[in-house]
């Protein structure tokens, strides 16, 4: 499943989607950045409620396929600019983290 397909199927809003054709495999949920660095797999979808600039560096360096901000959280302006610049897909979910994860689990392995 590509990030673009996932966005459509889950009804997410794309804050920015510089790499729509990126394939997703796996998922990780967490807000503590070193946990994400240590546990999130490459190419996964990362669900978080953290919205500051640091999530973009983490997403890029840990090489995740996309970041999904759950619970209606919106990114900082600086985070959004950096995501565009560094090619990080940043998606927005109005649903709670749990519901977002369940919806995701129906679509990816």
């Amino acid at each position: 499943m590509t990030v673009k397909e996932l966005t459509e199927k889950m009804g997410l809003k794309a804050a920015c989607m510089p790499v729509p054709e990126r394939e997703i495999s796996g998922a990780y949920i967490g807000d503590l950045l070193s946990w994400v660095m240590g546990r999130a797999g490459a190419d996964c979808a990362w669900i978080t409620i953290m919205s500051n600039l640091n999530i973009v560096a983490v997403a890029s360096l840990a090489d995740v396929a996309c970041v999904i901000l759950a619970e209606g959280v919106t990114p900082d302006g600086a985070a959004l600019d950096a995501a565009r610049e560094r090619g990080v897909n940043l998606l927005l979910s109005e649903a709670a983290t749990y519901e977002t994860a369940i919806a995701l689990s129906h679509l990816i392995k």
């Binding site: 503590l32 360096l61 560094r86």
Partner: protein, 140 residues
Amino acid sequence: MSESLRFTFDVDGGDFTSAGHASVQVKKNLRQLGLSPEVIRRVSIAMYEGEINMVIHAGGGHAEVLVHEDCVEIILDDKGPGIADIEQAMQEGFSTAPDQIRSLGFGAGMGLPNMKRYTDSMEIFSTVGVGTKIVMKVNY
């Protein structure tokens, strides 16, 4: 013996809201060199954790990345407060990060363990009141 490629960075201690510049740049450089995604990912994560630690715990420092024939070597050097008990600092969950840093998502006490996990070797030299030097290697 052929020369190793070398990248150096001054890591600014002032701004932990946007730290990670050196790591992001290293990732770009290694990509251009055509290293495997797996090696790039391991170097990126280990370096980012070390870079953030220098910003948060040591007021900045210096980073050097050497691309050797058989590995990438990362050398981080700071003149911060040093680490009194390295064994304790290496434990998952140990952190002295202040609250305003924690609210940004740092301070889980997982950085040093991650650096160890993602590298093939890691050495820490630290003297209280003088500074900390960390040398890591990621083999191809």
